[in-house]
């Protein structure tokens, strides 16, 4: 006789005000497969924890986003935000889909070049560009988005020794009615800094002003803020045209679109409430089309969306290490995924789904990671089915930032696989070995020996 699946015995006190369990079954349909590949097999072949990236989801998401914008506006260009996820395999899926590269450091710039991106299609953002970085970007005719006046002066100095006309834009920050106002990057619109910087660029005669850039915030839940930002950039562009008879080529609206994650403290799930690509596209394109650009002079619209394009394509598989109780009797579950791998657990209530069948009985649990650190909390309060030691859970919507902001802390980083559109699994980053870390270390001669 085949044995039945075991579930630990539970008893729960029925209290007034306690949520009922009915209807939760959809949320807790087990996630046994990702893109047709069994979670069990993935863990068997590549270990646990394991990052899984769905190529199919990346492609369908970028196409959804492209469609939302191109059906509303004549000239649209996406640029892949490297910092969101700069695994080469991920970048190249976006490059195959026509995205340029958007980088914020010399390291990322180099990565984009090595991936084969034409220097003319690299947007160089951020406050930290060294003189060498800038020189290289000018040589390659990349699009340099100036963050501060010191950078502008450095570029002007470089033009003394180089026979190229740098292609530049400025980053503009502004009040779009949202909280908090991001005013640490770029030049402020309201107090005239931005207009001032644009005049300096135009008067210098040494730079080609190709565009205007803004990036109004992160995880924006109001599409309307983008309409305000697009309107303000359009005003600056038209001001330049009137004063210098110079048309800029593009307006870069940056990124910041919210993904389908649920922020801590929000009542309804993000998958229901967060704006869609259509909402963002409608706000931005309407503002640009309604601005005073002459119809044949509409600038190209560049989008540097990162999070919303990759979050849903990423999964993190973990395994249950132990079930415990706190001193007050609360259930806690320890899994092998910690905040070292899931940085975003600090601000999202990540959806966790068991990878094997279970009943509708649940326990309210705290989920901890494996680190010997008090901050290692994955979920503070989640109604989870009764997981056994060794069971797998799939954490969804983790593709953004976790594979770049992760920490090599206490333990090594695991494998990353990508499932292609034909359900084939590819290892795209190997797990770290002890040597991956220690090979970089140098031991001073006098510390090599000790007696204990």
């Amino acid at each position: 006789m085949e044995k039945l699946r075991y579930e630990r015995p539970v008893i729960k006190k029925l209290e007034a005000g306690m949520p009922n369990k009915f209807g939760l079954r959809t949320e807790y349909t087990p996630m046994t497969h990702i893109d047709g590949v069994a979670v069990k097999d993935l863990v068997k072949d590549y270990g646990s924890p394991l990052y899984v990236i769905s190529e199919t989801t990346i492609r369908s998401t970028i196409n959804k986003a492209k469609k939302a914008f191109t059906t509303r506006y004549p000239k649209v260009q996406f640029a892949w935000s490297y910092k969101t996820n700069y695994l080469n395999a991920v970048c190249n899926v976006f490059h195959q889909e026509g995205s340029w590269a958007e980088v914020v450091s010399g390291f990322e710039y180099e990565k984009a070049l090595r991936n084969g991106v034409d220097g003319k299609k690299i947007i160089f953002n951020g406050p930290d560009k060294s003189e060498a970085d800038l020189r290289k970007a000018i040589e390659n005719e990349s699009l340099i988005h100036i963050d501060h006046l010191d950078e502008l002066y450095t570029i002007l100095e470089i033009t003394e020794t180089i026979d190229k006309r740098p292609k530049v834009a400025i980053r503009v920050n502004m009040d779009t009615g949202t909280y908090p106002v991001w005013d640490r990057f770029g030049f402020n619109y309201e107090n005239g800094q931005a207009w001032d910087a644009l005049n300096k660029i135009m008067r210098s005669g040494k730079l080609e002003l190709v565009g205007l850039h803004c990036h109004i915030g992160t995880f924006m839940l109001a599409a309307s803020a983008y309409a305000i930002a697009a309107g303000k950039l359009a005003d600056l562009a038209i001001g330049i045209e009137q004063k210098y008879n110079h048309c800029i080529k593009y307006i870069d609206m940056g990124g910041g679109f919210a993904s389908k994650n649920t922020l801590k403290g929000s009542y309804l799930p993000g998958s229901d409430t967060n704006p869609t690509f259509d909402d963002f596209a409608e706000a931005i394109t309407t503002a640009l089309i309604n601005s005073n650009f002459k119809n044949n002079e509409l600038p190209t619209l560049i989008l540097e969306t990162g999070r919303a394009l990759i979050d849903e394509a990423g999964y993190l598989i973990g395994s249950v290490i132990a079930n415990k109780r706190t001193s007050l009797g609360k259930r806690t579950t320890i899994i092998d995924v910690g905040v070292n791998l899931l940085f975003t657990a600090f601000w999202y209530e990540h959806k966790m789904t068991p990878a094997q069948p279970f009943t509708h009985y649940t326990e309210t649990s705290q989920v901890f990671g494996p680190l010997c650190m008090n901050i290692d909390v994955i979920r503070e309060n989640i109604d989870l089915p009764l997981l056994n030691k060794g069971d797998q859970v799939v954490i969804s919507t983790i593709g953004a930032y976790n594979m770049t902001q992760w920490m090599q802390f206490i333990t090594l980083r695991p494998n990353i696989v990508m499932i292609d559109t034909e359900e084939k699994v590819h290892l795209v980053r190997e797990n770290e070995k002890l040597e991956s870390i220690t090979d970089l270390e140098k031991m001073p001669e006098h510390l090599k020996k000790f007696d204990l």
């Binding site: 044995k3 039945l4 075991y6 630990r8 015995p9 008893i11 009943t359």
Partner: protein, 84 residues
Amino acid sequence: MKINKNIAISDTGFVFNPLNGESYSINPIGIEIINMMKEDKSFEDITHTMLTKYTVEDATFEKDYFDFIGILKHHNLIDTNEQA
């Protein structure tokens, strides 16, 4: 260890303790264990039955069993007097 006599358990896993007015909900494996306890089965008997029926290791079941008993005690569903 005995389940308190007055306690009624329905097939759906609803438990009512008439002594203090509390109600509880138990999952099917929990009901099975309580029913065996009511029949005065020993821990060894219960373990044997469960290990034969379900895919569970000895150590896991033992841990879960005593965790469960601990919660039953906490809710005063086990008659501790009889033990003495």
